[in-house]
């Protein structure tokens, strides 16, 4: 039985993961099918499901909406999916405005906006607030303070927690408003009927418009006014830059998609004139654009997609389940008739990927595997290690699948931004841990794999709170060759340095606090650290140098002392230092361990710290949360180094008695 236990446990977890891939049925409204519909936002094509999740995460820090935040989980609060929330916000904003989806934590900010304190009786949890609760004055206040902060504290490192909370809320509100006006102006009641009226008014209106613009006095003022009455509303929706909802009628890539407002206005004004009108404020129009606009006005029909969206919106607003589901299905059929290439497949797969959530699943597996790994040390049961090993292998497969899925969706190498670098560092560390485990079989590789695998997921999760993790790359990064070589290799170098650092931490922690560590184990740990450091030096050096070559190719400067470049250089120098110190006999086992722990600080600074400086090409602006986290991490590493500096005679493992009790069970595990 004990022999099969590891496999059985692993199989159970594998089933749990497969279960997440099964398609779910919607009992009422076809939210699944709706969430699969493609939309262009942040410059990329994505399913509405992604737009909904990323937006809700940005606003609420979770990708589901809890409509009864005061209820505890066992009281079964009403929780709706991001897609349902988005659909409601777009088509029934008056309902969505009453839902408490804005997360506000900063006490001063709450006080400024006069937001209610926690009061379960009144449904207030003191953390989540509804759009309506901000009120007209609250909105103005937020906007004013945000503007004020942006102007007076241009340098983001000057901003304090309150400033960042204010700006964060302001951005969340802006996003909320953009989404609200995606399908139609937010005060629309019956969209289909409105469009019908508008369509009817177009021919006469366009004629009057052309006459007016060509200087004729005899034009139909009423017809013009009618069209402009509509146009004014649609322009307002455009100004907020909502997502691009309308696919090009004759196929094509994401560049040809339009916002609802554009699709509605183009038939009246013609594309060239519309392009200029959209850039406000612009008093003077180029005469060519006007002429071209007059010529093309009224020549294009309204896109059929507009009608489909109106049908979906009206049906959902009227709570017609069947009507809504039919409308979604018929829009889906219409989309399939367009030559959209991979767009629909991509959209569907991304929805599947979102639902699967491979990285958070892997993270859960890493925790379980870590516990089994610890079990091995404290009672030395091989089945415990085996279980841990299989679980890590399973998690590694899921982790890898997630990476591959991202690569397919983005059409990019695995690392494109800070978020994916966290995912990839975790992946690399788990891979190295598995390799170490295959040689030593003492659960140390597993401990490293699970701890780093899980911690990097935490980091990634926090980075994902900023919104979409698959945003498009700026022109300079738009090169798969260098992303695949420089970025991947240097990130593996980071991963290896962390692995060495965590091996060293294990050495200190297990040695100081427990009796698990034996001289033998210490020796094997030290060899692991040495081997991994060689690997880290190789990868960080080659990666850094490739970065230099990329820089030379891109802007003619091999080395520009950019903070991120410097960070990578520091890692190379530090690793080289450890290796040379070892070769020169200047440090022994414990010394290398301490140096390797310091390597964690060096790597974290290069990975995150340099981005926080707010200068250079890799600057992402100052993130105060990240800064605090970095400081806490650095502090913890310093404590570990201090422990490592205590003579080994005082350690529990290496004290005089320790050598003979290698097999003794450690009942008093810390």
């Amino acid at each position: 039985m004990k022999k099969r236990l590891p496999l059985i446990i692993t199989a159970i977890f594998a089933l749990w993961i497969l279960g997440a891939l099964m398609p779910r049925r919607d009992p009422e409204y076809a939210f699944g099918a709706f969430g699969r519909l493609p939309v262009v936002f942040n410059g990329r094509l994505q399913p509405l499901d992604s737009l909904a999740r990323n937006s809700l995460t940005r606003i609420r820090e979770k990708d589901t909406a809890n409509l009864e935040p005061t209820k505890a989980w066992y009281e079964r609060p009403k929780i709706i999916s991001a897609t349902e929330w988005l659909l409601t916000l777009m088509t029934r904003p008056e309902a969505a405005d009453g839902w408490k989806v804005f997360r506000v934590d900063h006490p001063e900010l709450k006080a400024m906006l006069k937001l209610p304190e926690p009061n379960p009786a009144a449904g207030e949890d003191g953390k989540h607030y509804a759009w309506n609760q901000f009120g007209e004055t609250g909105l103005k206040q937020i906007e004013e303070s945000a503007r004020n902060i942006q102007e007076t504290k241009k340098d983001s490192s000057l901003r304090n927690a309150f400033d960042n909370a204010t700006l964060g809320l302001y951005e969340a509100m802006t996003l909320y408003l953009r989404l609200k006006n995606t399908v139609h102006p937010q005060d629309t009641v019956r969209f289909a009927a409105e469009i019908a009226d508008y369509q009817k008014a177009i021919p006469a209106g366009v004629k009057a418009f052309q006459q007016r613009m060509t200087g004729s006095d005899a034009f139909d003022t009423n017809a013009l006014t009618e069209v402009f009455g509509h146009a004014e509303r649609y322009f307002v929706t455009l100004r907020g830059e909502p997502p691009l909802l309308i696919p090009p009628a004759n196929g094509g890539d994401s560049f040809a998609w339009q916002r609802m407002g554009e699709a509605l206005l183009e038939p009246s004004f013609g594309a060239p004139l519309l392009k200029h009108l959209m850039r406000v404020p612009k008093a003077e129009l180029p005469p060519e654009a006007v002429a071209e606009g007059i010529r093309t006005a009224g020549t294009r029909p309204l896109s059929p997609a507009v009608g489909h969206w109106a049908a979906m919106a009206d049906a959902f607003r009227a709570s017609q389940v069947a009507g809504f589901n039919t409308a979604v299905a018929s829009y889906q059929t219409y989309l399939e008739s367009l030559r959209l290439g991979k767009a629909l497949t991509k959209s569907a797969r991304e929805q599947l990927y979102n639902g699967f959530a491979p990285f958070s699943k892997a993270a859960s597996l890493y925790i379980v595997a870590f516990l089994f790994g610890c079990g091995f040390w404290f009672n030395f049961a091989e089945w415990s290690r085996k279980t841990s090993l299989h679980l890590v292998q399973l998690a590694f497969v899921v982790h890898t699948l997630g990476l591959i899925a991202r690569m397919w969706l983005e059409g990019r190498p695995p690392v494109t931004n800070l978020y994916s670098s966290a995912i990839f560092i975790g992946w690399g560390a788990v891979g190295l841990g598995l390799i170490l485990e295959s040689f030593w079989k003492n659960a140390i590789g597993l401990a490293v794999a699970t701890v780093i695998g899980f911690s990097t997921q935490i980091v990634a999760h926090n980075l994902a709170l900023g919104g979409d993790t698959m945003v498009m790359l700026q022109a300079v990064l738009d090169t798969n060759f260098w992303l695949a070589t420089h970025v991947v290799i240097v990130t593996l170098g980071y991963a290896a340095t962390y692995v060495a650092g965590f091996l060293a931490i294990l050495y200190v922690v297990l040695g100081f606090f427990t009796k698990v560590m034996t001289a033998d184990m210490g020796k094997s740990l030290s060899r692991m650290v040495y081997g991994i450091l060689c690997f880290a030096t190789l990868f960080s050096f080659v990666g850094t140098v490739l970065g230099g070559i990329w820089a030379d190719q891109s802007w003619g400067r091999f080395w520009g002392w950019d903070p991120k470049e410097n960070g990578a250089l520091i890692i190379v120098l530090w690793n080289a230092l450890i290796l040379h110190a070892r070769w020169g006999g200047m440090v022994r086992e414990r010394g290398i361990m301490n140096l390797a722990i310091f390597g964690n600080i060096v790597t974290s600074w290069s990975w995150f710290g340099t981005n926080l400086l707010g200068v250079g090409l890799h600057s992402y602006g100052f993130m105060s949360g990240a800064f605090t986290a970095l400081m806490v991490f650095v502090g913890s590493q310093c404590v570990l180094i201090a422990l490592g500096l205590i003579p080994q005679a005082n350690w529990r493992s290496f004290s005089a008695t320790a050598s003979g009790v290698a097999k003794a069970p450690a009942a008093s595990a810390a």
């Binding site: 410059g43 997502p243 080659v542 230099g548 030379d552 003619g556 002392w561 120098l573 200068v615």
Partner: protein
């Protein structure tokens, strides 16, 4: 005694100390960029022999550091001496040997780049032709005179650093002396308002200087702004010809000295090329519905009258034009003009770096060396473990 010195110079202990100091210099040099800006920090920490880091707001230098030059030199000496004294050549050390040669090459290459590489900017509007690029940092006072032929000017270019208050500048080609009255590292020019500026006299007595005032500005250190220097100079031939205001913001002014017209122009240092580029078309694309730039592209026409070359080239991100020892990289692009249907503008970064190949060689050597060493370790390790595992 000498052997002691060599022992020290070749010791691994020195290597470790140097590497540690290297980490410190790079770290503080990076921190320094936040207050000093990239360029100044580079000069202070990396292109220097000694440096010190001062925390923001502190008046005292707190952390003394060796500069980049000192560290680099010491590392090179350490490596070379070590190889001639301590190292015994064996095959098992071939990787380390290669790595060290590569590192020496990288260090020397960086030094050569520091000295020899020149960066400048060529910016133009669609339709414009340029046969020179301009420094993005340094200015010069160009004193020009038509040089006989109709197309060539004779230029005497005085670097801005020479224009210090009180300096008197003479040159054999100039029939007059230039006395510097005032000099500003960064200043802005504006028309003098007779009503409002009643308490401020005009900047100079002659030329446009008689109608302007110079407002001194604090020198900027950031990457996205540059200093525009200004100065007030007195021109004196046989007799004084009055004072003139010169500034990077002013157009050329004409001074007549004994019947000859001279033009004064305070401008970014120019580097003339034996060929010319014409900007034909600029392309600026963003991702749909965003401001994220997707592509910048400049189509230029390259003409070299000597070699009778005349061709069109596209320059865009990650795809520079290499010609005549120069490399032209897409640097900036004016988005607004283009969007308004006007003439697009483009700025190309022009780099001349004769030593550009050394880092490539160095990298290959180090990469191969490390790989060899790493693989040797790995195979040895696996070979040793196998019998035990079996």
């Amino acid at each position: 005694m000498l052997s002691k010195v060599f022992q020290f110079l070749s010791s691994l202990r020195l290597t470790v100390v140097l590497l540690g100091l290297g980490v410190a210099v790079v770290f503080f040099g990076t921190l320094g960029q936040t207050s000093d800006g990239l360029y100044v920090a580079q000069e202070r920490y990396f292109r220097s022999w000694f440096a010190y880091w001062t925390p923001h707001g502190s008046a005292f230098p707190v952390v003394p550091l060796p500069g980049g030059y000192l560290l680099g030199t010491m590392l090179v000496i350490n490596l070379i001496v070590a190889h001639f004294t301590r190292f015994k050549w064996t095959w098992s050390k071939s990787g380390i040997f290669l790595t060290h040669i590569g590192i020496i090459l990288l260090l020397l290459g960086q030094l050569a780049t520091d000295m020899l590489a020149r960066e400048s900017i060529m910016s133009f509007r669609e339709g414009d032709t340029r046969n020179y690029s301009e420094s993005s940092m340094d200015f010069e006072l160009a004193v020009l005179r038509s040089a006989g032929s109709n197309t060539l000017d004779q230029v005497v270019a005085i670097p801005a650093v020479r224009l210090k208050p009180g300096a008197e500048l003479r040159h054999e080609l100039l029939p007059f002396a230039i006395r510097v009255k005032e000099a500003y590292e960064n200043a802005r020019i504006r028309l003098r308002a007779p009503v409002m500026d009643s308490n401020r006299p005009p900047a100079a007595t002659q030329g446009v200087g008689a109608r302007i005032v110079i407002d001194e500005q604090p020198p900027t250190r950031t990457m996205d702004a540059r200093n525009v220097p200004a100065a007030v100079i007195e021109i004196s031939g046989p007799s004084s010809l009055g004072t003139w205001a010169i500034s990077g913001e002013l157009k050329p002014q004409t001074v007549t000295v004994e019947g000859t017209e001279w033009r004064l122009e305070y401008r970014p240092v120019r580097d003339y090329k034996p060929f010319a580029l014409t900007l034909l078309k600029t392309t600026h694309e963003t991702y749909p519905g965003t401001d994220i730039p997707k592509n910048f592209q400049s189509r230029v026409r390259l003409r070299n009258t000597e070699s009778h070359e005349d061709r069109e080239v596209d320059i865009y991100m990650n795809s520079p034009l290499r010609y005549g020892g120069y490399t032209f990289f897409q640097y900036q692009m004016g988005k607004e003009q283009l969007a308004d249907g006007g003439r697009g503008t483009s700025a190309l970064q022009v780099v001349r770096n004769p030593s550009w190949v050394t880092p490539y060689l160095g990298c290959i050597l180090v990469g191969v060396g490390l790989l060899v060493q790493f693989l040797m370790h790995l195979t040895k390790f696996i070979a040793r473990r196998k019998p035990r595992a079996a």
